[in-house]
């Protein structure tokens, strides 16, 4: 009798521990949503430049996290890990919808401009300038473009950008240098073409 009772009690203990672990994981994912959903949305938006697509990308990111929730305890820096996931999701989406023109959407660019203190003309001019810059960035080689976009995020250091892209910090720095040079050349050409 005692052995059976001990075994049953042990089994019940194991299952309740599992349940506790499961609920703790769910709580951790919920906390990740509360804390980083905005950051992930901004990362997604900076590449896709479409609100609905960016939200879908964030959702896909959290679904991936849910799928691999067993490895959640091993993650040291959740922010960089999540940014890396959303970055891959966004690049996948971008590759799939390559034919869709996003950069010419001036009205979408107006969303980025400050809401107050600008006349209508200034708003239009600002949106056009934004579209010009975005077009020039789109013309950059993929590696340089990615580093340039990620470097615009003030909360990401060059070490973290290197972690997101799966490369070294020195590579990030050299790519950023090349990207700036190429961008200045492209903008110069755009100005002279106008």
């Amino acid at each position: 009798m005692s052995t059976g009772t001990v075994t049953f009690a042990g089994w019940m203990g194991v299952t309740s521990e599992r349940d506790q672990l499961e609920s703790a994981t769910e709580g951790a994912i919920a906390a990740l949503v509360d804390e980083y959903a905005g950051t992930l949305y901004r990362v997604a938006y900076s590449v896709l430049r479409n609100a609905a697509d960016a939200e879908d990308a964030v959702q896909e990111t959290y679904l991936r996290v849910l799928k691999h929730r067993e490895s959640l305890a091993e993650i040291r820096d959740a922010r960089v890990w999540l940014v890396r996931i959303v970055w891959n999701v966004v690049l996948d989406r971008k590759r799939r919808t390559k034919t869709r023109p996003e950069t010419d959407d001036v009205s979408e660019m107006e969303r980025v401009l400050p809401a107050q203190g600008l006349t209508a003309e200034e708003r239009v001019a600002g949106a056009q300038h934004h579209a010009l810059v975005v077009r020039a960035v789109e013309k950059l080689p993929a590696k340089e473009r990615q580093v340039l976009i990620l470097s615009a995020f003030e909360e990401l250091t060059s070490v973290e950008i290197a972690q997101v892209l799966g490369t070294t910090e020195s590579t990030v720095r050299s790519r950023l240098f090349r990207a700036r040079n190429l961008l200045s050349t492209l903008l110069c050409h755009e100005r002279s073409a106008r």
Binding site: D19, E26, H129
Partner: protein, 161 residues
């Protein structure tokens, strides 16, 4: 490239980077977190429904019990097969009645002697009774038996007239 040109290019790059920074500071839509929570919850429920059993409440116990039953069935089947095979060499197995083996057809074309045994006549010689003497008129001649089978003759035919 002249230094003033370099300065201009730097300004352009700085302006471009400012645009990119503005893009990264776009405000997320209202209620983004709530929508994410709802979708994650829906995804969990969908996964549970796809599995056919609601694993949420006591799911681990049900899974464990099913696994234990399956293991018991497999182990029982394996043990039964092992036990039957083991019993083949024991006294119990020897007591099992064995069906008689039929003679193989083909060696004697399927015919048999029906347990009949041929007894050669040499072992039981035929005894022919003596022919009675004929009475000849006038007693001229003595009647002589025509054939009397010798006692040692192996094969004796019937008496010839």
């Amino acid at each position: 490239m002249r230094p003033d040109e370099l300065g201009q290019l730097d300004d352009r790059v700085k302006a471009a980077e400012a645009v990119l920074r503005r893009l990264t500071k776009v405000a997320p839509p209202e209620g983004l977190e709530e929508r994410m929570h709802r979708r994650l919850q829906a995804s969990r429920l969908e996964n549970g429904a796809r599995n056919g059993i609601a694993w949420g409440f006591g799911g681990m116990r049900v899974r464990f019990a099913l696994a234990a039953v399956l293991l018991a069935v497999l182990a029982g089947g394996g043990w039964e097969a092992y036990r039957v095979r083991l019993a083949g060499g024991t006294k119990e197995a020897r007591q099992v009645p064995v069906a008689p083996t039929l003679p193989a057809v083909g060696a004697d074309s399927g015919f048999s002697a029906a347990k009949g045994m041929r007894v050669p006549p040499t072992l039981t010689p035929l005894r022919v009774p003596a022919v009675p003497k004929k009475k000849v008129a006038g007693k001229a001649k003595k009647a002589v038996p025509v054939a009397a089978a010798p006692a040692s003759s192996p094969v004796a035919g019937p008496a010839q007239p």
